[in-house]
């Protein structure tokens, strides 16, 4: 009997251990997760944690000292430059390993390995876009440059030195929760991370949607819906261009007669349309600090752990301070003791599609200039958790990889296939830009550095302590004829291919302009006199308000710049409100509606957190768009472009008898008065609903959040009471916004401030995880200081790490 009990009891013990160690029966391996010595408890960082440490690592050349301030910002002092990147890699991995690993897995189309089959569409989309192909090509040229190779090698070695130290208990929290382990870092992963930024910033186009719009509406209406020029444009670089040196690009003769056929491809992933940025510099003549003041706030997805990691790098040659990307060496946006620099996204269309006609089902050959060319194939093996591997066979053509074909579309389109041509496929040494900027001393150094920036193309602003300011709209931009690449193009005709790239001499740029400032807010870089086609869809509004404010400034200091960078004035409403107020007929609204009409009328056109008028405005303008266009779009294809953000506004400002005002489903001819009043009525139920739910205040309605990368709500910061929005300098929408605000005065004394909605630690169990979120919400800044090692220990320093070679 006792033997039986013994066996039974032992069996229960083993079963308990097994069950609690796996998720076969439980939703999570609770024993493993909650074991105090190994599980998630180990990630609960003591609030009085001590980061002082002596660390010996193989691979270092000399000693490196890292001083951390109270926000856990490291100031790295290295005797050898590459040791600084080694330690940067080590610190990125110590504080942000899961995020950098996860983002490079996403870039490489490998998410299925950790979450299973549901990520297969994402993985296939990224593989077929050629992300890995592009990263491999980029790695080749990066490693051919001895300086970059040494920099990347040191960084990779530093990341791996940290990975090797990891134990079951020191593993970052997310690995424990999801149940997998980090992989060794490599230079390819750095290249993949940089390609991921290209995807985020330079993969925006709507070629399928515009093609469908053109074939559905016909040329005349298409042009009205998608005008070539924006009337209220205030370009980044105003003035005429000398076009003599321009490479002539002309549309193929067959272009005019070509009617694009309708496509039904559904595009899975699209980079968010809200990414954008502001930057500007005021010249010393407008500044109270004795030097130029540079301001920059890149608007990206708001995530935790933050995209940015603040850092100071000091080598025998230079000292630079700013924000870095966990995943890449160097400082990306920042300043050194001679210059400061910042970026906004160029936003031009650098991704086009070509229709491929294969000879037969084998796809071995495709038509090109009347001949059949051989296809090459790339086999993408996608590992899937708990499932057999998926092999995606991707045909490559002269244009690039075939991204969409029958096998990769929710609704099969028979034998039609589209290859993608993307500048990010071309190998580039983008990292060199930052390597050189970190040590740049003047405008010449800056100009040389930014020339390496191909994709994602950026508008770089510059300020130097010697008092110079400048801007360059840098990138590898295809020289396009009018409308080239707005629609799908025939892949069999070489005359439709890109003919070359815009020469650097024609890069819109300014150096010490007379107006005393340079600026960009993602608007079109130049006006219609520019010799190349620049596309149609650019945000107008932030650029206009920034330039207006900068023009009005006679003298401004750092505090004025802080106020401007967090300003909530709505210039879009300034243009649109007169239309609404002129045409809405309040006497035709019910009494309940009139209360809200009154609130709208009294609104001061500022997107402050408590502004109710803004919520009403947003809903009424949304309804206005619907009332004007929905009738025309009723039978349009599902994948179709809607008019851009400011198109309706500009059309109504110009013409109160705009063609699309008329509801084509009625016999009558509607007037703008009727349409505007109808829009208010249509918006009313949503306004009333928001009010009833106490969400009429703009920040409540907008509901800004900073989400954890794996979308885990408890690790996110939700319902943030912040104003701003689309068209606003403080461009904080629900999920996007100023991911880093920086202000640098390059006077006799460098004075710099910055803040990002996150913290230095990636560990959700640390108080440094979301350290600065509340300051960011309130529009507060932290001082940014280049610390000199030789002086007395700076009062902001709390901990020191000493690295020595083993």
């Amino acid at each position: 009997m006792r033997i039986l009990f013994t066996i039974l009891s032992a069996a229960i013990t083993v079963m308990l251990c097994y069950t609690l160690n796996t998720n076969t029966l439980l939703p999570a391996p609770l024993g493993k997760l909650l074991a105090p010595q190994q599980g998630v408890w180990q990630n609960a960082e003591p609030v009085d944690v001590n980061f002082n440490e002596q660390i010996k690592l193989k691979g270092l050349q000399g000693a490196v000292e890292v001083q951390f301030n109270e926000r856990l910002v490291p100031h790295i002092f290295a005797e050898y430059e590459n040791d600084a990147y080694f330690v940067q890699g080590y610190l990125h991995a110590k504080f942000r390993l899961w995020q950098m690993d996860f983002q490079t897995l996403a870039a490489a189309g490998r998410i299925s390995e950790i979450v299973g089959e549901k990520a297969l569409p994402h993985d296939r989309e990224f593989r077929r876009l050629g992300m890995v192909y592009a990263a491999e090509k980029t790695l080749e040229v990066m490693e051919a440059d001895p300086v970059l190779k040494a920099q990347c090698d040191a960084y990779t070695a530093g990341v791996n030195a940290r990975i090797e130290e990891l134990t079951e208990s020191s593993l970052p929290l997310e690995y424990k929760l999801i149940g997998y382990y980090p992989e060794r870092w490599s230079n390819l992963k750095t290249a993949l991370f940089l390609k991921y930024m290209s995807y985020d910033l330079a993969a925006r186009e709507n070629d399928f949607e515009l093609t469908n719009a053109l074939s559905y509406f016909g040329r005349e209406d298409y042009r009205l819906l998608f005008p070539l020029h924006q009337d209220s444009l205030d370009p980044i670089v105003p003035g005429m261009f000398n076009n003599d040196s321009a490479l002539k690009v002309m549309a193929p003769v067959s272009y005019d007669t070509l009617t694009p056929q309708e496509t039904l491809v559904q595009v899975y992933d699209k980079p968010a349309p809200e990414t954008g940025s502001n930057n500007w510099v005021i010249a010393p003549s407008k500044s109270t600090t004795g030097g130029p003041i540079l301001c920059n706030d890149p608007h990206l997805g708001l995530n935790l752990p933050s995209l940015w990691y603040e850092i100071q790098i000091t080598t025998p040659e230079f000292s630079t301070y700013g924000v870095s990307f966990p995943g890449s060496p160097a400082v990306i946006i920042g300043f050194n003791d001679s210059i400061a620099w910042g970026v906004t996204n160029g936003g031009r269309d650098v991704r086009d599609y070509y229709t491929i006609e294969f000879k037969d089902e084998t796809k071995n050959e495709y038509l090109f200039n009347g001949e059949y060319l051989k296809t090459s194939f790339r086999y993408e093996r996608i590992r899937i958790k708990d499932k057999p591997d998926y092999i995606d066979t991707v045909p490559y053509t002269v244009h690039g990889p075939v991204m969409y074909e029958a096998s990769h579309q929710p609704r099969g389109q028979g034998d039609r296939a589209w290859a993608v041509r993307w500048t990010a496929h071309d190998p580039g040494k983008e990292l060199k830009t930052f390597n050189l900027l970190n040590r740049a001393k003047n405008y010449d150094d800056f100009s040389e550095a930014v020339q390496y920036m191909q994709t994602p193309g950026q508008n770089f602003v510059f300020a130097s302590r010697s008092g110079n300011i400048g801007i360059k709209t840098q990138g590898k931009w295809p020289a396009k004829w009018k409308e080239q690449g707005d629609f799908l193009m025939p892949g069999k005709d070489s005359t439709f291919m890109w003919k070359g790239f815009i020469p650097d001499a024609l890069t819109p740029a300014q150096f010490n302009p007379e107006r005393g400032f340079v600026s960009s807010g993602n608007q079109k870089p130049a006006d219609s006199t520019y010799p190349y086609y620049l596309g149609m869809d650019y945000p107008l509004t932030r650029g206009r308000i920034i330039n207006r404010m900068l023009n009005e400034i006679t003298l401004a200091g750092v505090e004025d710049m802080k106020k401007m960078q967090t300003d909530n004035y709505n210039i879009f409403a300034e243009m649109a409100m007169p239309i609404l107020m002129k045409y809405i007929q309040p006497q035709e609204l019910t009494a309940e509606m009139q209360t809200y009409y009154q609130k709208l009328k009294e609104w001061d056109m500022r997107n402050e957190p408590d502004a109710e008028g803004m919520t009403i405005f947003e809903l009424v303008w949304e309804a206005m768009n619907a009332v004007v266009y929905d009738d025309e779009y009723k039978d349009a294809p599902k994948v179709v472009a809607r008019p851009f953000n400011t198109t309706l506004l500009e059309a109504l400002l110009k013409d109160s008898a705009y063609k699309f005002i008329d509801n084509i489903e009625t016999r009558r001819h509607e007037t703008l008065e009727e349409i505007a009043t109808e829009a208010f009525r249509k918006a009313y139920p949503k306004i009333a609903e928001a009010d009833a739910g106490e969400r009429l205040a703009w920040s409540k309605f907008k509901d800004t959040r900073v989400m954890h990368l794996a979308r885990l709500e408890p690790f996110s910061r939700l319902h943030l009471p912040i104003g701003g929005g689309k068209h606003i300098i403080n461009a904080t929408t629900t999920t996007h916004g100023p991911s880093w605000r920086m202000i640098v005065s390059m006077g006799p004394q460098i004075e710099a401030y910055g803040v990002f909605p996150g913290g230095q630690q990636g560990n959700p169990g640390s108080r440094f995880y979301d350290w600065s979120v509340d300051s960011w919400v309130k529009g507060e800044y932290h001082p940014l200081k280049i610390i000199n090692r030789s002086t007395e220990r700076d009062p902001s320093i709390r901990w020191t790490m000493h690295f020595k070679p083993e």
């Binding site: 251990c17 609770l30 105090p36 609960a44 408890p714």
Partner: protein, 117 residues
């Protein structure tokens, strides 16, 4: 007295083994101690149960206090949909206790089946 020593020894050995081995080595520790120190099976179950209840509960509570319950709050929200660090500490303690209890019981029963008292 013997019971208290058993509890302490189980907790101590569990802690020591977990420095090098995975979490389920607590079962080995509880089993071995019960095999070495003769106790009636139900008393033995209780010793393993209490030892791990204290070790895991105490360990988790200590860590959580040092952390101002920041992580425990988030994890309990994730697992229990409710920000409640105390419940997470109790769950942790109970998981350790149940495993420890059954492992001790097995050790004690094995000892009894080999040497009859």
């Amino acid at each position: 007295m013997k019971w208290i020593i058993t509890v302490l020894l189980t907790a101590l050995l569990s802690f020591a083994l977990c420095l090098f081995l995975p979490w389920w080595s607590i079962a080995i520790a509880a089993f071995l101690v019960a095999l070495l120190i003769p106790l009636r099976p139900w008393k033995s179950f209780l010793s393993g149960f209490v030892a791990l209840l204290l070790l895991w509960g105490g360990g988790a509570a200590w860590i959580s206090v040092e952390n101002n319950h920041l992580l425990a709050g988030k994890i309990s929200e994730l697992i229990l949909n409710n920000n409640n660090p105390i419940v997470l500490i109790l769950i942790t303690a109970c998981i350790g206790a149940v495993v420890g209890g059954f492992a001790s019981l097995s050790g004690s029963l094995l000892r009894y089946s080999v040497h009859k008292p």
